[in-house]
């Protein structure tokens, strides 16, 4: 079965969708949208068009990446460009639809942007600061298409990469991937083409492809958004990889905490089967491939290749020593090629558009683009894709819009719990695999958590360590007991019980854990400690020597008092105190009972700035 006719039909549908006879309404319904109320908005849209004299089609789409202003609603009105509206709530649906669709007022005040052009007061969507500097390859379709509509995918060039690959020999496909300079997007950055060749050349009667969708870093959601918004980009990459290495079976290992992604993947796989893209004789060739979804049970360590294979095989998810590498002996002892979700999405783009276009972006050793999830203390949180080599400054202050509430930037944590904290002095660092490692962190899968002056770096290190202590598989000594030891020391420091010798212990132990752990989880686990020690040593010193936490985050080290002269006795803090530690008559200055106070800081938050009576010491 060729895709020729299907693609032609799809293009007709896509054309009609974008230049419609009647309004088309799209609601962004990935998990981020759902979490901020897209379901209610969707229902409100359905209710409104049934009540008003509006004849419109309602669709869903994925996540555009602008998570800071979800839920998004897009409207394509006949004769008008597609316009995206941000921060939609159910109450805004009726006025929006009646103003725009019935009265020709496009409500520029609620619009995020118009697609591809300005429209009156509405800016071009692709010129808004969040999107202007992005270059979307892996994320080419997110928020654009209906992820459950196979025709949208086809019309946007889906599976043209596979068609091209099947016209080449497997070795030529691998050549193309090698030429693109693509490196694994899961964190380690191993050259993808080289890995494929190792797997292709490995001896074995059957081979496996595994897609690693076990995204588990706190603050990372790239894979989830991609799978929910454009599953076919990933599936096409997997098919291309399977053809190149000679695999007939594939597994998508995805965490069970991603139910929506699993649902959309399942639908997409069904669509592949119905269109002759899975099973025997794919696109009338001799290439046969089958794909199954395996759900992970929530262990972070199962994102590590050998642990993942153990988990798929039904064993306890622990890493094993390498060699042998998975490319020689992986799933069921057969040569297995594992790549991450984003890598697969890049593969399909490379095959569709050619290696040259991909490798023209990026730096010397890090080609193409990389997706990041911006989270933490940043104005515009969301999912972005930028060319490698862009500076952290441009990402955080350009795309992300800087730090909210006029606070000062302190650090950015990249690479998840096994990454490191990069300080302001390194903000001009170009984002590529080598530069981040040199700074003591690493690329990881692309989580980026921004920290401001209110974050205590010792506490941040302690937080990430508590994650690795819980998520270590427990197999090897340095990871299981080393992270426990580091956490014990850090906890004592945040409680004011550290001592000066802890500097050496943290450093020595951190180095040991990095050098002797069995897998990447343990080897990276000390990074949050080592980088904060290197870049924020003075914070550790003030905790240990002065028993003081500058950021005021370590509760044992801060206390709150009320300055009697400034307190007007308004009673706000008294009412807000969760443990009733504040006493005082209305109109008279209040006092905090330090024996009862838990140093939560609520009183400081709520004391009206014009009084400024509560202070932290």
């Amino acid at each position: 079965m060729s895709l020729l006719k299907a693609r032609f039909d799809a293009q007709v549908e896509w054309e009609a969708f974008n230049n419609p006879q009647k309004p088309q309404i799209l609601i962004g319904r990935a998990t981020c949208g759902e979490a901020s109320g897209a379901k209610d908005v969707y229902q409100a849209v359905l209710d409104t068009i049934s009540r008003l004299p509006i004849d419109a089609d309602v669709h869903i789409t994925g996540c555009l990446g602008t998570c800071y202003c979800e839920p998004l609603v897009d409207i394509i009105k006949p004769g008008m460009p597609r316009i995206s509206y941000h921060s939609m709530i159910a109450e805004k649906v009726l006025p929006l639809l009646s103003d725009y669709l019935l009265n020709d007022n496009p409500r520029a005040d609620w619009a995020l942007g118009a697609w591809g052009q300005t429209c009156g007061d509405i800016p071009n969507l692709f010129d808004i600061p969040m999107l202007a500097q992005q270059k979307r390859i892996a994320l080419r379709n997110i928020g654009v298409i209906d992820p459950q509509n196979f025709n949208h995918c086809l019309a946007r060039g889906g599976y043209s990469g596979l068609e091209r690959a099947l016209g080449l020999t497997p070795d030529e496909v691998i050549d193309e991937i090698e030429k693109s300079g693509l490196r694994g997007r899961g964190g380690a950055g191993f050259p993808t083409g080289h890995k494929w060749r190792l797997c292709r050349n490995a001896k074995g009667d059957s081979k496996y492809i595994v897609c690693n969708a076990d995204e588990g870093d706190p603050g990372a959601f790239m894979d989830r958004a991609l799978l929910e918004s454009d599953p076919h980009a990933v599936l096409e990459g997997i098919l291309i990889g399977a053809y190149a290495i000679g695999a007939n079976n594939g597994v998508i290992y995805i965490r069970a905490e991603y139910p929506l992604a699993i649902k959309r993947l399942t639908i997409a796989i069904e669509q592949l089967k119905n269109n002759g893209l899975l099973g025997e004789h794919i696109l009338d060739t001799d290439f046969a491939f089958d794909l199954t979804i395996v759900q992970g049970a929530g262990a972070f360590v199962c994102g590590e290749g050998t642990a993942m294979i153990a988990s798929i095989e039904g064993k306890r998810g622990t890493p094993r020593p390498r060699p042998p590498f998975s490319t020689e002996s992986g799933l069921w002892g057969k040569p297995t090629n594992i790549n991450n979700v984003e890598t697969w999405a890049c593969v399909s783009a490379i095959m569709a558009k050619g290696a040259q276009q991909f490798s023209s972006l990026g730096t010397g050793k890090s080609k193409g683009t990389k997706t990041f999830s911006l989270a933490g203390k940043i104005k515009r949180t969301g999912l972005i894709e930028v060319p490698m080599g862009i500076s952290l400054q441009e990402i955080i202050f350009g795309i992300g819009g800087g730090i909210p509430n006029n606070k000062a930037f302190k650090a950015v944590q990249t690479g998840g719990p096994t990454g490191g904290c990069i300080p302001e002095s390194k903000l001009l660092l170009p984002v590529d695999f080598e530069a981040l490692i040199e700074a003591g962190s690493y690329m990881g899968s692309g989580g980026m958590v921004v920290l401001d002056e209110d974050n205590c770096m010792v506490e941040i290190a302690r937080y990430f360590l508590s994650f690795t202590v819980a998520e270590s598989c427990g197999k090897c000594i340095p990871c299981r007991l080393g992270t426990r030891q580091l956490l014990t020391i850090l906890t004592e420091i945040t409680q004011g019980n550290g001592n000066v010798s802890d500097f050496d212990t943290l450093y020595e132990l951190g180095k040991s854990i990095r050098l002797s752990s069995l897998c990447g989880l343990g080897q990276g686990a000390p990074n949050p400690v080592l980088t904060t020690l290197a870049y924020f040593r003075e914070e550790y010193e003030s905790h240990i020597k002065e028993h003081r936490c500058q950021a005021g985050e370590c509760r044992s080290l801060v206390s709150y008092t009320i300055t009697a002269e400034r307190c007007k006795g308004c009673g706000i803090c008294l009412r807000q105190c969760p443990v009733s530690a504040i006493k005082g008559e209305k109109g008279h200055s209040h006092v905090i009972d330090s024996a009862k106070c838990t140093s939560c800081g609520n009183c400081l938050e709520v004391c009206p700035p014009r009084f400024g009576a509560v202070c932290r010491v």
């Binding site: 262990a299 360590v301 306890r316 998810g317 622990t318 094993r320 020593p321 690795t468 202590v469 819980a470 998520e471 270590s472 598989c473 427990g474 197999k475 090897c476 000594i477 340095p478 299981r480 007991l481 080393g482 426990r484 030891q485 014990t488 020391i489 004592e492 212990t505 020595e508 132990l509 180095k511 040991s512 050098l515 002797s516 752990s517 069995l518």
Partner: protein
Amino acid sequence: MPATIWRGLSGVDTMNQTVNITIDGKTIKAPAGATVLEAALGAGIYIPNLCYHPDLSASGNCRLCIVQIHGMRGFPTACTTSVVEGMSVNTNGDELTGVRRNNLQLIIANHPLDCLSCFKNQRCELQRVAVFMGVKEGKLRSTVSPQVTDDTNPFFRLKRDYCILCGRCTRTCDEICGVNAIEMLHRGDATHVGVFGDKMLFESNCHSCGECVEHCPVGALAPHEPVVPDVETKTTCCYCATGCSIYLGVSDGKIKTVRGNREGQVNHGQLCVKGRYGISEFVQHPDRLRTPYIRDKEGLQPATWDDALSLVARKLATFSADEVAIVPSARTTNEDVYVAQKLARAVIGTNNVDNCARL
């Protein structure tokens, strides 16, 4: 498995081929397929290790046998790295020893230090490593937290406080016994050895063979009443006809311990629950027959072997061959059973032979 067979990573006996490698400047011949640790130990070079055991597959989790190998990144573990012709290994070095020492300190910080009252004192492998590395005291904060002791098994207990999670017991239960009663449960900090559903050993499919106890390097898995015997005598297990070679440990004239003989060709050191924990009870049981008895009109009377055997011979002679069947006791060795069937077939002339060694 006899120590003379090199298991190696491939598990294949490659004794016939050797490779030349250098360890700490000393050139040695090692069997192809052996690991660096096996090669070093075979050549008398000790590399600290805890999770390694010659009976078991390599696991690489204690991270004490880390070495430097020319041309390889970082510190690979000697127990998981196969020897290659021309390989140059360094087992010492400041940074390497420092990392190994830190790993040892981490174990010590997580282990009760009441060695004097521990039954494994002076036979403890953790002590041996600490002595070898000259570590006299713990330098880190104690991370010991009280854990549940499982003493529901009739013969041994699992005292998790002492467990270093080397995984030798779980691999033993899997690879030697094929029972898989115990496994590592949970993860991270909460990892512990346990049985299905985190229940007690008594409620599991554990056969109580005690192989895990034998393979535990520390005092975590221990018999309920640990005894160090005065003398040990090599003999053959009399519980069934398999013929396992054992050492009976005797104190105060009584059998106190049973230990498998690793040189024994039948069992390679392994024992079942009956051999390991059943012998002393049944051998020393007051009800055990210590002499033949002959029944007369007044009941059973103690007799000599000569009288008893003569009586049996006389009576057997009164039957035709196929009226006789010989059923040797389950407590006889394979060789004795062989002789008994010879008696049946060659002397008496019957094929009516059976044996109940199906315990």
